[in-house]
Amino acid sequence: MAGVTPSRLGTRPSPARGAAESGPARWLLISLALLFLGTFLLLPLVNVFYQALHKGWDTYLRALAQPDTLSAVKLTLLVAAITVPLNTAFGLAAAWAIAKFEFRGKALLITLIDLPFSISPIVAGLIYLLLFGLQGPLGRWLDDHDIRIVFAVPGIVLATLFVTVPFVARELIPVMQTTGTEQEQAALTLGASGWRTFWQVTLPSVKWGLLYGIILCNARAMGEFGAVSVLSGHISGQTETMPLRVEKLYHEYNATGAFAVASLLAVLALLTLALKTFLEWKQQRAYALAERAQPGAPAS
């Protein structure tokens, strides 16, 4: 299949002689790239499912049906159900302020929103442990009032909230910047209220970017390990999320059990990738349509 496919002939002419690699060089490069991706992406992926299933379906299902594993699944879903909507609301507010208005310190604000990405998850967990733990004044006050945050579900939620703050905002900001403000202004001129303009004009025009941010945020919320590990207390059946359950089973030398839980998380990752690819395609099409509709609009 070397050479140029017919669909590309129009846009990308076959390069002149000497401006492309020779056949053998090309195949060598492709083989090297495939070898690298095969070792570091495909093998680890296939291995998860092989290790989970190679003792048969019955063993697999029995491993998943353990009460502590089921409660880990429930806790993971609960944590995602709390953190994803909160960070989605934050992302919408931040993107609205940053994309639709000019103000001083905007670049700094964007850097601050991205900050959790550059902080080690362990440091993130430690920060909350210090804030709400018993060695701090706030922690002692909370303890006196029987409010448990550290080594309990609220701590897990807070740690997850911290590490997933940037996801929706950073996907939405560029999308909202591209759509501009003309449509909202038209709606307002025609008498629509601010909320109505937001729900009926802004939201539909950024929906693919928004969904994209939400699924990435959800994947990280369900998969977070380090930050949650510091704050969890690791009580099986109570404060163990799925990634922590994987670790506990691994330490108990229950490889099949660990891989069974891991396989669920791997399915989540594959679903995330599939949805992400689909949304990228949708978003590109939306951009192309918008550009055709108004030729002067800024390109992505």
């Binding site: 000497g18 401006a19 790239a33 959790p116 362990i122 920060i127 911290f162 891991a262 989540l268």
Partner: protein, 274 residues
């Protein structure tokens, strides 16, 4: 255009106020709290706790392994981006989508499956261990996990640059008699450099803070295969909060410095593109 000045969009105060309060409560104040706790320590205490022999060994491993992994990703990431953008082959689109797999896969799962692959009875370990290459429960395992974690960065920063690259320049060089290798080294490579460096820095920064994938595969022996984030966890388990804070502050300051470097690199890369 005149209408614009009459119809300012509503909600600026509300959304900016909400953004700033939320960010302060969830991110900024807790970080400030960490630095506040640092005030309980004298400078000498901080320095002693942050530079114990064990901590120094952990920094060496964390930075050394992160550097090697980021270099591997710079080399192979450039190759993968090149192959995905320039060539047509069966399965190209699938591989392109799979490049983000390390971003989507929970790190605990990555560590679990990598350690099982490289263990003596694993799919790769059964061939590599007899050759003396022990990937599981050694410092090499740290490099393997960090390479997996950082794989998407260079590919994803480089792909758009390669897609926008003007092939006419290469063709002109070829017409003027330059060999393919010379064209690559003198014309293509300098254009790609800012993006490769940005991807390298992103992968390096991510690797330094990584915890989940590494602890499954590293073996976690003090002075040998113990990374700095793990040492923080161990200090916490010993209720040595001051020791944990000291190492965390070192990591945090390095993260902030890397963030500044990455911002500069990104600005340079986008200026270079225009």
């Amino acid at each position: 255009m005149v209408a614009r000045s009459f119809h300012v969009l509503p909600g600026f105060g509300l959304t900016l106020g909400y953004t700033l309060s939320y960010l302060s409560v969830i991110v900024l104040l807790p970080i400030a709290g960490l630095f506040l706790r640092l005030l309980d320590l004298s400078w000498a205490d901080f320095w002693r706790l942050a530079t114990t022999e064990r901590a120094l060994a952990a920094y060496r491993l964390t930075f050394g392994a992160s550097l090697i992994a980021a270099l591997l990703n710079a080399a192979f990431g450039t190759l993968v981006a090149w192959v995905l953008v320039r060539y047509e082959f069966p399965g190209r689109r699938l591989l392109d989508a799979l490049v983000d797999f390390p971003f989507a896969l929970p790190t605990a799962v990555a560590g679990l499956t990598l350690s099982s692959l490289f263990a003596a009875n694993g799919w790769l370990g059964q061939w590599l261990v007899p050759l003396g290459i022990r990937g599981a429960f050694t410092p090499l395992g740290v490099v393997i996990a960090l390479t997996f974690i950082g794989l998407p960065f260079v590919v994803r920063t480089l792909q758009p640059v390669l897609q926008n690259f003007e092939r006419e320049v290469e063709e002109a060089a070829a017409t003027l008699g330059a060999s393919r290798l010379r064209t690559f080294l003198t014309i293509i490579a300098p254009t790609l450099l800012p993006a490769v460096l940005t991807g390298f820095a992103l992968a390096f920064a991510r690797a330094i803070g990584e915890y989940g994938s590494v602890i499954f595969i590293a073996g976690n022996k003090p002075f040998e295969s113990e990374i700095a984030p793990l040492l923080i966890v161990i200090r916490l388990e010993e209720f040595d909060y001051a020791g944990a804070i000291a190492i965390a502050v070192v990591l945090l300051v390095i993260s902030f410095a890397l963030l500044a470097v990455i911002n500069l690199l990104e600005r340079w890369a986008s200026a270079w593109q225009h």
